[in-house]
Amino acid sequence: MYGFEAMTFNIHGGYLEAIVRGHRSGLLTTADYNNLCQCETLDDIKMHLSATEYGPYLQNEPSPLHTTTIVEKCTLKLVDDYKHMLCQATEPLSTFLEYITYGHMIDNVVLIVTGTLHERDVQELLEKCHPLGMFDSIATLAVAQNMRELYRLVLVDTPLAPYFPECITSEDLDDMSIEIMRNTLYKAYLEDFYRFCQKLGGATAEIMSDLLAFEADRRAVNITINSIGTELTRDDRRKLYSNFGLFYPYGHEELAVCEDIDQVRAVMEKYPPYQSIFAKLSYGESQMLDKAFYEEEVKRHCLAFEQQFHYAVFFAYMRLREQEIRNLMWISECVAQNQKSRVHDSVVFIF
């Protein structure tokens, strides 16, 4: 019923949309970032944040602060927000909200499996996991020896199970296969999420397909750049690209054969929406690409708030908060390590 969301949306989604828009107005502004960038110590950061929505989460921290504490507490706020919304949500919004966390789940699975492979302590690894991507039996991942066991023992119970069939091999786990697994899972996840949003229809489908297409394209570019010079074959690389997005299908063919960054650039510049990303970069430069992508992503997420009666605002809010936490982490790191000149390198202003 495209165009008629206004009639019925507020019955179930109105309250939560109001909540999420309220949360959005609590995001740090440029003025906040400017002030944060001038901080001399982590205590200054805490003091500044105490006037924001992070205040209650940081106020009981004893004074010698660490970057990890700040990030942890800020993430806690995000998680609290998320849990509150999830509690209030009804179908299909609750499923939509759950979809948002699957990405973190994949990352956590990969983190634990890689960690166990390198014989790290499970508890230590668990602390590093993103709290949004936690599931019940995550600690049991350490038991698994190969993909098949991983799936059969643990993941079959999780929402990730449907994404797994493509990666099941009996071979032992190593770094390469884990990385491929991550990308295969992510591909399946994005495609599933995309399908789900299409099924929801209306403005949600319209906006989410745009946001997810961008996500898929970004992953495609990252996979290409990261796999240059590795033993990953072109066909294997091609298989890791999600089957939607602007690059699909012709761009993928071209990306699959790229051998250096400039070729990637040439492929991307054929697509008008991505031209601006490279406009600021000089040739052969790839470090700043991440930031350029983040900036573009933030811009798109902010635009999602311009339209009403759709679910993409929840996705956008979660992503914006995560970006904000990344910013805070970077600023805190820079302040803690006395590298204040580099503060602006990686901070993406949200407004």
């Binding site: 001038q38 003091m47 500044h48 106020q59 004893p62 600690a139 038991v143 023992l153």
Partner: protein, 820 residues
Amino acid sequence: MDHFTEKLPSMDLMRSEKMTFVQIIIPAESAHRIITYLGQLGLLQFRDLNAEKSPFQRTFVNQVKRCAEMSRKLRFLMDQVNKAGIMSSHSVLQSDTNLEDIETQLAEHEHEIIEMNSNSEKLQQSYNELLEFKIVLQKACNFLVSSHGHALSEERELVENVYSNEDFVETPFLFEQETMPGPSKSNQSGLRFISGIICKSKVLRFERMLFRATRGNMLFNQAPADEQIMDPISTEMVEKTVFVVFFSGEQARTKILKICEAFGANCYPVPEDISKQRQITREVSSRLADLEATLDAGIRHRNKALSSVGGHLAKWMDMVRREKAVYDTLNMLNFDVTKKCLVGEGWCPIFAKAQIQDALQRATFDSNSQVGAILHSMDALESPPTYFRTNSFTNPYQEIVDAYGVARYQEANPAVYTTIIFPFLFAVMFGDWGHGICLLLGALVLIAHERKLSNQRLGSFMEMLFGGRYVLLLMSLFSMYCGLIYNEFFSVPFHIFGASAYKCRDSSCRDAHTTGLVKYREPYPFGVDPSWRGSRSELPFLNSLKMKMSILFGVVHMNLGILLSYFNAHFFGSSLDIRYQFVPQMIFLNSLFGYLSLLIVVKWCTGSQADLYHIMIYMFLSPFDNLGENELFWGQRPLQILLLLLALIAVPWMLFPKPFILKKLHNERFQGRNYGVLNTFEADLEVEPDSARQHHEEFNFNEVFVHQMIHSIEFVLGSVSNTASYLRLWALSLAHSELSTVFYEKVLLLAWGYDNLIIRLVGLVVFAFATAFILLMMETLSAFLHALRLHWVEFQNKFYHGDGYKFRPFSFATLTEDEN
């Protein structure tokens, strides 16, 4: 008139306090003390002069941080005290301690408590482990005995648990289970087991995971633990389940152990040998008793330490909060050029200047400063804040007005009139002296416990009720008064002021309620005659009375509102508003509805049968026709024509002149500068800075005209709809009396009709509840809301701007309330 108004005694509430903008220059050495004294005085609102600076760039940021750190420690200690359940009953009287002392003491206490906590945590952990071990021992033996029962004799020597007695206490999580190298071949396929304990909520998933990991080659036994075990992290009691897993093979063992670890299950070794089991159980029990004693001692020690701190906490918190407020205020001040003085700006009421001076002098003297602080008035661009000095009686009324909008600076304050009119209008709708007495009792209880309740933290509802206790008092008194006029006591009329003026037509009184009564003496002296009750003409009579009364109240109330707009205009010296707004408004309202009120009064006094609807309607439709039997007094027709003409003239009068005159005034003011815009750059510089502000006030005729048009239309339409709106007084009063009649007649009297104690009792209870909840609570609320609306909309829109902002002085008194 001018002389008369000036001679009136000044009333605090009529207009807000006169404010002045002051600048204080404070020598740096006495700054802290001066701000503290000003905070105690609480009559100066500081302006933030460093608004563009972020909090950590300000001067006293370190002190603020220290205070924040101290309040964090205080919160921690408070939390600990609350957790330990210690009531800080004895507050220790201590002569003034300074902040540094508190800081060091706090650090000590915090350190001490944290250390004790970590100690007791360790103890608690080992206690938990032992307790779990004990439970596992008790439960697991049962399984071992039952499952091994028959096969035990053969396999006894094959499966053996080897463990070291000393080892199990230190590392009880894992235990090595090794098969003895035996001669038999069945040794390799031997059945082994792992026993342990796990949270009850995880058992199901745990079992499933074990099943999957071993591909079903295992046996899982479980039994709920009898005792609950404290979770060391959340300090809550958790239910746990003891389990024993039987399996075979070395690989399965590592897998199972890993899964146990992942699920947070603690594994404990259980020997199969009965005698060994007994021995271990004995040892564990004795160690448990030891640990328990140690734990208790630790907790006692900790509680003692906490209770010694507990007495100070409230006082310290207060001090730290004040200190933080002082530094926050200091951060709003500017350093002057020489860096020796702080410069502060802010608003204060004029009457408080002397007190502030005094506080400054005292502070200077107390801090042994050579230079005193300087206070002087300044001009300010922005409009001053609004400040009313209220007491506990006037405060709720002021709150009622402020809830609509804070008065513009020095605007006529409707709260003065609200104090009486509001409870009265409420009572018109709630007139019943029985209900009034109930309200009065409630209000008196609140007032009697005033001292006790004001120190308590009440719920939000009670807080509201308590805050409005004097409103409630007046409301109840007025509703008793109105109830006496309506002659209703829980809807029952009483012969209080003598006998009724009416009697029955004949002695049997059969047709009293159908054909009516005969008047035989002077009218009933006060209020409604009790004989009206239940008679045929009861409703028409009361309706007519209440309806007309409502209109009279409404017209008077609205006239008062327009009159206040005159006082406003007079005060602010705007003769334009008087001539072209107040006068036509007055004429318009009174020529229509003032005239109606006059007719009502005349009709009441003469007892005429004239139809007022007819008069009012034909006054507009055919003003020149003869009134016929509806004529109430001589010369009514010419008067009506005159009034109609006046009302017609009043509309353009309030619409057109004001915007045109404003335009003319504006043109005159800027006549000389007509071509200033075209001048060159130098000409702009010549314009003196004072006039810069006036330049910004662009005069937009269209906007002013549209504004005036909206105002006029609103007033003209409003005077009709507002008058009609006052009829709610009648409607609610009618609803109230009818509702209480229903409860009285259909519940109480009906139940009383039966000669059965139970039915009577039930009827009484239902009546009591209906009266309490529906009539006393719901009806009070609805009457309150309607009275509120009549004030906010019908009364205040005649004169009240309500676009001011409140005076928020820096004061310690308000400080204690907000946090927490």
